[in-house]
């Protein structure tokens, strides 16, 4: 298939959380989250309670996809950084390793310069983690580790729709 399936393990998930938490703190931002290019939320840090992170993830991916389409039309590979400025809140979006999207939501307590600086550092760390994750996924595939869902039965699937 075109895009390999993304799998997130406990170990990498923890590493990512640490990086996001620190980024959120150091950038003085409100929320930081990481999204797959397909619109799946991978991880989030900060004040996510009042935020619809699922919708945010989907729209962010749509946004990146649309600007990526624009980029191709003018002969660019992609626009790796997007910035949306609002009256109070702003959104900084960047693509990491052509695979995942890092989103930082911040207000007047921070600044674009600070966010860009901190994002740059965090991006490198996240890229390393994802490179490792991809290698791990390939390795598992090579030795043919059985999917935990190999034993799903038709009854399991029917059960989901029993209501």
């Amino acid at each position: 298939m075109a895009v390999p399936q993304l799998v997130m393990y406990e170990e990498e998930s923890k590493l990512i959380s640490v990086v996001l938490e620190r980024l959120n703190r150091e950038a003085n931002s409100k929320v930081v989250f990481l999204v797959d290019k397909n619109g799946q939320l991978i991880s989030a840090a900060g004040d996510t309670k009042n935020l619809d992170t699922t919708s945010l993830a989907s729209l962010t991916a749509g946004n990146i996809a649309a600007t990526g389409g624009l980029a191709k039309l003018i002969g660019e590979k992609e626009f790796s950084i997007l910035f949306h400025e609002g009256e109070k809140d702003n959104i900084h979006i960047s693509i990491i390793g052509q695979r995942v999207i890092l989103v930082v939501v911040f207000d007047t307590r921070s600044s674009l310069g600070l966010v860009r600086l901190r994002v740059k550092k965090a991006s490198d760390e996240l890229k390393t983690i994802f490179d490792g994750l991809l290698a791990k996924m390939e390795q598992k595939e090579a030795i043919n580790v059985e999917s935990p869902f190999a034993e799903i039965t038709d009854d399991d699937i029917d059960g989901l729709f029993s209501e």
Partner: protein, 195 residues
């Protein structure tokens, strides 16, 4: 492709509703949204024009339940049906796990159905998918209308390979959940195979 998160014990899958303009893709999602337990659904997002034509996509996250301790979550998307939104349609197919082709049963929409069907195959191919391999079902919508074409004719045109198919009337909800269940089964069966 699906996203398996061992850390939060979740499987996320993406299902795209495809079809010609005004065939009822958004109506399908609206019905599902209206009938789903509030705990099991997120907000439905519609990026539409002022005249309620889908401009980019509709999005509806659903939590179906648990399998083997993993929460099964489906993200339902629709594409804009109007021909000139092709660039947007391609983007939405990225990372798709299953496709529902919604056909408009009305005789005069047959050409539009065919065009959209061929467009689906081309756009999937561009993303590296094969319509013969990806989980995929057909829904014949608007069966209640007096000018609906005979089922046989629709089958011949849109489902020569005999994939799972469903008759529906999305406005009243008939066939909507049957279709969703049909595609979900195929997607989960694919997951079972490993990839």
């Amino acid at each position: 492709m699906s996203f398996i998160n061992y850390s939060s014990k979740e499987i996320n899958c993406k299902i795209v509703y495809y079809g010609p303009g005004l065939c009822g893709k958004t109506t399908n999602l609206q019905y599902v949204y209206g009938k789903t337990n509030p705990v099991a659904k997120g907000k439905m997002i519609s990026l539409a024009t002022e005249t309620e034509r889908t401009l980019f996509f509709d999005f509806l996250p659903l939590t179906l339940g648990e399998i083997k301790g993993f929460k099964v979550r489906f993200h339902l998307y629709t594409v804009p049906g109007q021909i000139f939104y092709d660039a947007s349609r391609k983007l939405i197919l990225k990372g798709v796990d299953g496709v529902v082709f919604v056909a408009d049963s009305q005789v005069e929409r047959m050409e539009a159905n065919m065009e959209s069907f061929e467009n689906l195959a081309v756009n999937l191919k561009e993303q590296g998918y094969d319509l013969d391999k990806i989980p995929y079902v057909v829904q014949y919508n608007k069966r209640d209308l007096p000018n609906a074409a005979p089922l046989e004719e629709l089958k011949n045109l849109l489902n020569p390979k005999g994939i799972p198919e469903f008759e529906a009337c999305a406005a009243t909800g008939e066939g909507v959940f049957e279709t969703l269940k049909g595609i979900s089964k195929l997607v989960l069966t694919e997951l079972k195979k490993g990839r």
